[in-house]
């Protein structure tokens, strides 16, 4: 420990002086063997004190007491010293052997320290027994502040009374927890320093309980420091050597009251133990009792505990933006893209850097929307933190993106939202947008596989009206409709007129051409029907000749008109042929010719003509109507 250096120097000086005296000493004095126990009369609970058994002669087989009611921290630590005294030429030598225990009073009450035994020159010696009162009123050692000071004063008084020293009080060495700000907002950095103050030499600083600080994201500010930096401070007129044992940057994670737990450590303090010289010489007394010479120091292990500090963390103000991820401090944002023109399947490197002061490590991935056809990978995150009084540095997100298809793409500006502590408001930073031109890949990339087309539904991303119709397009006069207009009506009437005219013209032309055949055809059935009607009348009146005449004419006439055969050429054969040509049923043809023959037979043959008249009439009617049906 560096703290000790100054004190060590003083001690070595003392030693050198003693040795000078040794050179002059020749007489050895050995009388009055004494074995004395020394301890403070009263201590407070938790105090550490020394119990020293001193023998002013050589001895061995030391057997210490059992220290009931106390905790033995260390001991017995054997120490021996020899001193030579020369007074007016008489050289006296004193040898002293000491056994030191470091003891802590753990329970209040009065305890007896039993005598210790030692053998010296073959004699067993017993030390005196001691009474130690342990009072509970005290505050454990290591606490700073008024109480500790008072306690220390009290202790010193008692030790003065007992004429023995060897305790350490709370004013000599203590740790304090120093918090830079007790009401930070969430995410605001506070600095917690555990600082040791000492007026005595210290060694073997040993942290027994590292505070487990929860509710914060912490960063050790002294991590890289191998040695404690010490400095001097004057408190209440006393000069202290101080050192920062531990220094943390804390970023509160949640609001509310959070206690920063105390730190506990043990140190070994170098305590001066002044011995009363037995030689009562005013001059020597004044000389040797001076601390300079009589400061044999002893190591005392002292437990130290710092104070706990409660920090009241304020919440961030309302109105957090949606993208806010908890970053607090003061930042700047930059985005860099290594190239904006490339071929498909080549890689782009996009670097987004957030730099500034604040809880940088809390910054999560920044939300970036890449075009859907891009292959992207998780970013490579590089954090670079400078530990000063405040944590600052930069965090870089490196994105590797590979466009798979050609085209022009835009990566929207990357946004970063944080709470600005100096301006007490949320701030949004954004980079420029990145325009990327991707040309068609040359297909040389080895890792492209054509294992089928990945088909997807068409993605509808927007909604807009369809584009205007481009000229030229036809325009017409407004308010005028073709339907119902004069033109339309005229066209309508015109068409009707044309139809009627054509109809009439065709009719007239046919008549003029004397197309009688057509007329006869149309009239055939009518004429035959008229004749048959007449025949019906003759049948009722019973005039045979007229009846047969009419029937015959009806049948022959019908055929003549229907098939346009002149009457002169009519015969059963020609009728048969004509009907066959029209594909009339043979049975019907037979029925027709039979009717014709029956009629001719009845007409010209004698006999009862009346009997057949009825039959022939129905036959003729039936045959004509059947042929009419067939021919239709």
């Amino acid at each position: 420990m560096m703290i000790l250096q100054g004190i060590d120097k003083i001690r070595t000086m003392g030693m050198t002086l003693s040795l000078t005296f040794l050179m002059l000493a020749f007489q050895v004095q050995a009388d009055n063997v004494q074995f004395i126990a020394e301890a403070p009369q009263s201590v407070s609970v938790g105090a550490t004190f020394r119990v020293v058994f001193t023998l002013n002669a050589k001895g061995d087989h030391f057997n210490g007491p059992d220290f009931k009611g106390f905790d033995v921290i260390s001991g017995p630590n054997q120490g021996s010293s020899q001193s030579f005294q020369m007074i007016n030429g008489n050289v006296s030598q004193s040898v002293s052997l000491s056994f030191t225990y470091l003891i802590r009073a753990s329970v209040a009450g009065t305890f007896e320290i039993r005598p210790a035994k030692i053998t010296s020159n073959g004699k067993e010696l017993h030390s005196n027994s001691l009474q130690v009162t342990v009072s509970s009123s005290g505050v454990p050692q290591g606490n700073n502040g008024q109480q500790g000071q008072g306690q220390g004063r009290q202790q010193r008084q008692s030790s003065d009374n007992q004429a023995s020293e060897g305790t350490i009080d709370g004013k000599d060495v203590y740790i304090r927890t120093i918090v830079s700000k007790t009401n930070p907002t969430v995410g605001e950095q506070i600095t917690v320093t555990y600082k040791i103050y000492t007026r005595v030499g210290l060694s073997n600083l040993n942290l027994t309980n590292l505070p487990n600080i929860s509710g914060f994201w912490s960063k050790d500010l002294l991590e890289s420091q191998k040695q404690l930096q010490q400095s001097t401070e004057t408190i209440d007129g006393q000069e202290y050597i101080t050192a920062e044992v531990r220094k943390l940057a804390l970023f509160p994670l949640k609001s509310g009251e959070v206690t920063i737990p105390p730190m506990e450590m043990t140190v070994v303090a170098q305590v001066k133990s002044r011995k009363k010289s037995r030689v009562r010489d005013p001059w020597f007394d004044a000389f040797f009792n001076d601390p300079l010479f009589n400061s044999s120091t002893q190591a005392v292990e002292v437990p130290l505990k710092s104070n706990a500090v409660t920090v009241n963390v304020r919440d961030l103000p309302a109105g957090k933006p949606a993208d806010f991820s908890g970053a607090t401090g003061n930042y700047s944002l930059s985005g860099k893209i290594d190239r904006t023109q490339l071929k498909a399947n080549e890689a782009i490197n996009l670097k987004i850097t957030v730099s500034g002061t604040g809880n940088l490590e809390m910054i999560d991935k920044l939300p970036i929307t890449f075009p859907p056809d891009f292959d992207t990978y998780d970013p490579k995150v590089t954090t670079n933190i400078n530990k000063g009084v405040t944590i600052s540095g930069s965090k870089t997100f490196e994105y590797l993106i590979i466009p798979r298809n050609a085209g022009s793409f835009t990566i929207d500006p990357v946004k970063f939202v944080y709470y600005d502590l100096s301006e007490s408001r949320y701030k949004t930073l954004s980079t420029d947008k990145f325009e990327i031109e991707v040309a068609k890949g040359d297909g040389t990339q080895a890792n492209i596989s054509y294992s089928g087309v990945d088909q997807k539904d068409v993605q509808y991303v927007g909604n807009d009206i369809r584009h205007i119709k481009l000229p030229p397009f036809s325009l017409k006069d407004s308010g005028i409709q073709f339907f119902g207009s004069l033109n339309y009506l005229l066209a309508l009437a015109g068409i009707v007129m044309v139809i009627i005219v054509v109809q009439i013209l065709m009719y007239k032309r046919r008549k003029a051409l004397g197309n009688t055949g057509l007329m006869r055809l149309k009239k055939a059935t009518g004429v035959a029907r008229k004749r048959l009607k007449k025949a019906g009348i003759y049948l009722k009146s019973g005039s045979e000749t007229e009846f047969y005449n009419e029937i015959s004419q009806a049948l022959w006439g019908y055929l003549s008109d229907k098939f346009q055969i002149p009457l002169a050429e009519l015969s059963t054969e020609s009728v048969n042929d004509a009907l066959n040509a029209r594909k009339v049923n043979q049975e019907l043809i037979d029925a027709f010719t039979e009717t014709l023959q029956n009629c001719e037979f009845a007409r010209f043959a004698p006999g009862d003509k009346n009997a057949n008249m009825e039959q022939i009439y129905t036959q003729a009617l039936e045959v004509i109507s059947r042929i009419e049906r067939e021919l239709r």
């Binding site: 009206i465 205007i468 119709k469 325009l475 006069d477 407004s478 119902g484 309508l492 068409i495 109809q503």
Partner: protein
């Protein structure tokens, strides 16, 4: 060296002079352009075709108000077409004049019923207007009737009817004049079919024309208008309509119109709050 320097100097001088000249010329050209650009001054002298071209240029460059002005000029010249109304609808939509846009698209759909683009754009705008009215579902024959009417513009239906009339006449000629029975039969059936189709086509043409000429539908142009139970300002408020909603007009008493909306509700509103189609 020296000569060279002087030469270069004089050369520079001429360049400067030329620049001044070109500046002057370009200033003249600029004023000319400005004159053509400002619509109010020169519009009336432009032909409808030139107006359409300017409007298209304005629309594509995002100057929608100017584009609408040019289109309006064509309308004022007494010309119209489906495309013109469609483009005006687009322009009005770009200017965020939703009621106007609906009116223009409806107009376009009257001239070319069932047009896909106009139907699409109108659907998009109808999803943005305030009023959402559930259509009373039509009966199947009403739907058929409507879809037939919308199959062609009324002018086309009129032409169809003329063609059908001619065909009916021809079929009748066949029926009356054909020599053979089967020809006459064919003539008969054809004339019957064409006759029926003729009646339908005339009906469709009539219906489509009616829709254009009658102006018995309208678009609400007022931001909000309250339909009353009777043609009287103190009458009971029935329902509230917002701009862009299409209404049918049944009756008119003074400035009050009896309107019917798509879900069948009937009320009276003042004529000034709407624009007839």
């Amino acid at each position: 060296m020296n000569v060279n320097f002087v030469n270069r100097f004089s050369h520079r001088k001429t360049i400067v002079e030329m620049k001044i000249k070109t500046n002057h010329i370009s200033a003249v050209i600029l004023t000319g352009i400005l004159a053509t650009v400002s619509p109010l001054v020169v519009l009336a002298q432009l032909s409808p075709k030139a107006n359409l071209d300017s409007a298209t240029a304005c629309y594509t460059s995002g100057r929608f108000a100017d584009a609408l002005g040019y289109y309006d000029q064509v309308l004022k010249n007494g010309k119209e077409s489906y495309e013109l109304y469609f483009n005006m609808g687009n322009t009005a939509f770009r200017l965020n004049e939703l009621a106007q846009a609906v009116w223009f698209y409806e107009k376009a759909l009257r001239l070319k019923p069932g047009d896909e683009d106009a139907t699409f754009n109108l659907g998009l705008i109808n999803s943005r207007i305030t009023d959402k009215i559930d259509q009373v579902p039509l009966l199947f024959y009403e739907r058929w009737w409507r879809s037939f009417v919308n199959l062609f513009p009324p002018d086309t239906w009129s032409m169809v009817s003329l063609i059908l009339l001619s065909l009916t006449g021809a079929s009748l000629l066949l029926f009356f004049q054909a020599g053979y029975m089967w020809q006459r039969k064919t003539g008969f059936w054809l004339s019957l079919t064409f006759g029926v189709l003729l009646v339908f086509s005339i009906s469709f043409a009539w219906k489509g024309t009616q829709r254009i000429m009658n102006h018995n539908e309208a678009i609400i142009f007022a931001t909000t208008v309250t339909a009353k139970s009777s043609p009287d300002a103190s009458a009971v408020d029935l329902f509230v309509l917002h701009e862009g909603t299409k209404v049918g007009i049944n009756d008119q008493i003074g400035e009050w119109l009896r309107i019917k909306i798509a879900n069948g509700s009937v009320g009276w509103i003042k004529e000034k709050s709407l624009k007839r189609l």
